[in-house]
Symmetry: C2
Subunit: 416 residues, 2 copies
Amino acid sequence: MRIEILATGDELRLGEIVDTNSAYMSRLLCAERLEVSRTTVIGDDRAELVSAMTSSLARADVVLLTGGLGPTDDDLTREALAETLSVELETRPEATAAVSARYRRPLTERDLRQAQAPVGSKIIDNPWGTAPGIRAEKDGRIIYVMPGVPHEMYRMFSDTVLPEIVRMRLGETGASALRHFVVHGVPESQIANRLSGLASSSDGCEILIGTRVRFGTIAIRLSVRARTSEDVQHALSDVSSEIRKRLGDAMCGEGDHDLAWFAAHAALERGLTIAVAESCTGGAITSRLVGVSGVSGALVEGVVAYSNEAKVRRLGVDARLIEEHGAVSAEVARAMAEGIRTESGAHLSVATTGIAGPGGGSDEKPVGLVYLASASAAGSDVVEQNMRGDRNTVVERSTETALWLLLREALRQEAR
Amino acid sequence: MRIEILATGDELRLGEIVDTNSAYMSRLLCAERLEVSRTTVIGDDRAELVSAMTSSLARADVVLLTGGLGPTDDDLTREALAETLSVELETRPEATAAVSARYRRPLTERDLRQAQAPVGSKIIDNPWGTAPGIRAEKDGRIIYVMPGVPHEMYRMFSDTVLPEIVRMRLGETGASALRHFVVHGVPESQIANRLSGLASSSDGCEILIGTRVRFGTIAIRLSVRARTSEDVQHALSDVSSEIRKRLGDAMCGEGDHDLAWFAAHAALERGLTIAVAESCTGGAITSRLVGVSGVSGALVEGVVAYSNEAKVRRLGVDARLIEEHGAVSAEVARAMAEGIRTESGAHLSVATTGIAGPGGGSDEKPVGLVYLASASAAGSDVVEQNMRGDRNTVVERSTETALWLLLREALRQEAR
């Protein structure tokens, strides 16, 4: 099955925004062993739209188009689609009702453009925005038209379009389900080894496993398809427990979340509070935790003790310790974690000190050397990491490790 | 002049990474009043590469291709280009020398693939990486082939390819120069009004002004082209001082930097130290400052006082003030900025408290309400902002405003 993407909009064509929609769809398709052959970015120009749609429909079995469904004059996707299919546009009552429901005022003619679709096409519901999507066929090729607004597109693609494409490939109606796991601290190649043999395809039951790595954290996607939903649930539960067994301590949790979410929720579930002391990560750990909705129930404070003086004054680190071992040392990392725990009264803490670069490195302590520590009432742990990469990479990677230490510390505690 | 982009690589096609290269080129071209008509993303597949190159060269005057120039087997751009041009590949001595200079070991045959180019094409130097770029022509259409590695591509494009395209359009050799300014706190439409009449084209001298807005901060790009470099310098200096005059206090500084850079450097140049107290921004301000290389000379500390208790204990905010006005209030923002200044001993401070959402809003204090304060020995300032958008947008926008307050506070101080 050949799949192409058409991403439309002048804001994309002129580089004002980066096309993240296409990468999102490509990734999800990839996890289903379906690959996008080509992505084309074009602007709000009717002739260009018609030419690109026509070429893509000539090459591909499925075309995924995003953008140009809004009510303004530069939203030309509906007109271009009708022209490509050589049919007229018509107003659809079901779409009119949906558009009306989203506006809290009388509809103008302009608003109602969003309820139009080419004759013979199908409307795709969009409960997350105003403009419905469209599914149309030409000579057996299928084109899905989705909104360009990322959160609307994400939902419409993953809830409606992707399952339909997957069923199309299977050539049957069957059932399917997805499960996500997050793992940290094991190289991707090792994960692949540990999970080998779990993916399979037999007796109409297909099990797929995909991994995605980012700064040391690996997202695993388990996808199961079978004839009935009972078969799916059965396989899902078997393979899930096997995955958990094989990955052991590296497992951070289940669900499509990031490490900050897992760490925050592990603390929240156990009634534990968190404090963060950062040096080289400069606020990135706290910032990630604050990005988790509801974290105010756990997060007491974060201190970016960038200067040695702040490490002493804010975290109670002994100045002699810094003098003796240097600010970038296992001893100071541990003292920072223990210090902020004491100062804040939090149950759990995490701390970082390192050399993010580009300057500040030496032969003994090179750029990329980072010490990370976690602490709780039970004691403290220190991890040394030697990372390659630019400043940003060192900060991002350290942040992931710190969130993982915090999660591990939370998982060890009894609920309160 | 019609321009198309071809972005190649399986990591792009499969969505493992987002195509930022194309947006980068499109933006720079846009600032030169040149527009990209179409961007096509394809994988490491020779037939697909040849087909896409052929189609693009049939439609466009200039084709910009990135990726596939490395030494591995899936780097197929050179072969596909030779096939598209119907010529052979040959090894270029100048490219061999450049590739050798980058490796600190004897070259393998595989390494030397990077020194190959189609007969009749030109080599483009790449002092930032191993693989040189290629410029080739077909029937009067030009194709530039650049590395896919962003930092190599950015430099090759802005230093070599873009100036050549611009000269091509001008149909002359002439001279040109660029200057950047950064402005905050004035709506983009007003900036356009204030700068109206400055862009011009006459007597072989072309003056272009482009703006780009992000979370309330506006980057202005002044581009001047003329017959001689004296003419360019003359126009650049005249227009620059006019821009400064018209924008007055809104001007943050000159150069292609972000607000964190301007704030950090304003403090460093004056020998001033900085402390940050954050609530709703959760470490984002400190994190941005830490992203500026050399900031350790100015930044003392950042405190993310997420809980009320931390605001009292760490920042010395009076608990009665929080009780009376609420944690999200002008009074508490000011007390946070003054408190961290006193506690840290820093010359300058900035503080935020607000409701980033999605929860926590009320009729009186809705989601998006943020108070920001700055303080110095001369006193303190508070700004109230009411923002729309999701949690991330509220945090980003508040962070920009906070960095601007910090910059303004620094600019007001005498050098020490």
